[in-house]
């Protein structure tokens, strides 16, 4: 009988929340078994592992489930703390700053981005995109202080906030293809950061294809127009 894999990840390929978990696992070099959920048809394992929200991602470690993407990322950092780069800074104030900004992404970004996906015409999507870009402005301003002159919010290496925001990049690139807009047009810090993040080996290995996300966005646009939006977390 084959030994049960220690680490399992339940996910949906296009979900930025799932991408966060994948990046964290890859940064720490953790081997895991991945289970792709069927969009709109939740598995027994998912319902059993996340009875409160019934959403992906769920990390199952030695049979115990951990839910909510940012909590999963912190868990991975805690468990594999001696391996690879630290995801959460060790200084309490720096840690508070990345938690604050990551929470900002969860609080403000996704709501504004959903409007982009929901927009029924190209014009509606463009209007919504401009709103979404405005949400990124405070992060543009925060970048210098957070990065301390380096390439990532985490400094030399990808950290918690890079993961929280960077996981959204494939959807930003999808929106750029659909609208013809450049999201980081007036955001030079974020533009440079996005280029570095997108080029990182770990990120390249886990990000889905932008064109595939464009197709997926078109498919789910209709679903988003009836509340509540089917979110993954």
């Amino acid at each position: 009988m084959a030994a049960e894999r220690e680490v399992k990840l339940l996910g949906l390929w296009a979900s930025p929340f799932v991408i966060r978990a994948k990046i964290a696992l890859a940064l720490k070099g953790v081997e895991y078994e991945y289970f792709e959920e069927t969009f709109g048809n939740k598995s027994e394992l998912l319902l059993k592992s996340n009875p409160v929200y019934k959403k992906v991602p769920v990390l199952i470690h030695n049979g115990k489930p951990i839910c909510e993407s940012l909590i999963i990322v912190q868990y991975i950092d805690d468990v594999w703390s001696g391996v690879g780069p630290s995801i959460i800074p060790s200084d309490p104030f720096d840690a508070a700053m990345v938690r604050f900004w990551s929470h900002y992404v969860d609080d403000k970004w996704f709501a504004s981005y959903y409007e982009v996906v929901k927009g029924e015409t190209r014009e509606a999507k463009i209007d919504a995109s401009r709103e979404a870009m405005a949400v990124l402005q405070p992060l543009e301003e925060a970048f210098e202080k957070q990065s301390k002159g380096k390439h990532f919010f985490g400094g030399e290496t990808i950290g918690f906030l890079d993961i929280a925001l960077g996981s959204c990049l494939v959807w930003i690139k999808a929106a750029e293809k659909i609208t013809g807009l450049e999201f980081f047009d007036k955001l030079p810090n974020l533009s440079a950061w996005a280029e570095c993040f997108w080029a990182h080996d770990v990120v390249k290995a886990v990000m889905p294809e932008v064109d595939a996300v464009v197709d997926f966005a078109k498919k789910i646009q209709a679903k988003f127009n009836s509340p509540p939006p089917p979110t993954t977390n």
Partner: protein
């Protein structure tokens, strides 16, 4: 204020989010200066230290601001790590504590606000969700003394300020938390035996009076 030493808390007397921070600071025996904020007329200080959200609580430690109540509580726990740990050391237990604190953030305040703000179906829906959320929390508490087990922890800090709002929720929603979730009420009473909690929470009747003021302001009967 940069370069100034010490701990300052920008807060609002009845805010459950601010109370989380006050409780955490007291559990850690940290001395601080409390600065009551006028939320209808926000101070330069508040706008300077929380330009993104312009909300309380804001903890200013040696001139550096930390915002968002659960972020602040984790900061307090990490900086003053030598005393009364709020988050457990085991990674799985930490993740579990963060999960339930986040659940409280997503559900309790929002349901509570809808309970006093809405009427008819909206109110009933909010009541149903509030009771469901409290029951889930009761399940997580189980037979434990606190959510943190034997020690008062992160989830306890996250939830306990809302205990003083139960009376307001019950009165607006016409239900009884004790009937629905007796273990939560018993837990609340145990928490009130702690000085950090009893000295911080407002009298439930005062909280209800405050809700009545809000209802008037929003034109809700």
């Amino acid at each position: 204020m940069a370069g100034e030493k010490g701990v300052v808390l920008l807060d609002f007397w009845v805010s459950p989010f601010g109370q989380r921070v006050r409780i955490a600071l007291q559990e850690k025996c940290v001395e601080y200066e409390y600065k009551e904020q006028d939320l209808a007329n926000k101070s330069e200080l508040l706008l300077k230290y929380n330009p993104v959200h312009k909300k309380i609580p804001v903890l200013v430690h040696d001139g550096k601001p930390v915002c968002e109540s659960l972020v602040i509580v984790q900061y307090i726990d990490e900086f003053w790590s030598h005393k009364s740990p709020l988050l457990p050391s085991d990674p799985y237990c930490r993740a579990n504590a963060r999960f339930w604190a986040d659940f409280i953030d997503k559900k309790i305040y929002d349901c509570g606000t809808r309970l006093w703000k809405l009427k008819g179906e909206g109110k009933e829906e909010a009541k149903k969700e509030m009771i469901e959320a409290l029951k889930l929390l009761e399940g997580e508490l189980g037979e434990k003394k606190y959510f943190g087990g034997e020690s008062f922890g992160f989830v306890d800090v996250a939830l306990v300020p809302f205990v003083s709002w139960f009376y307001a929720y019950e009165t607006c929603g016409n239900f009884s938390v004790e009937k629905e979730c007796p273990k939560i009420v018993a837990w609340g009473k145990r928490c009130m035996e702690r000085e950090s909690v009893s000295k911080t929470l407002e009298d439930p009747k005062k909280v209800y009076e405050f809700v009545l003021v809000l209802k008037k302001r929003f034109g809700v009967e």
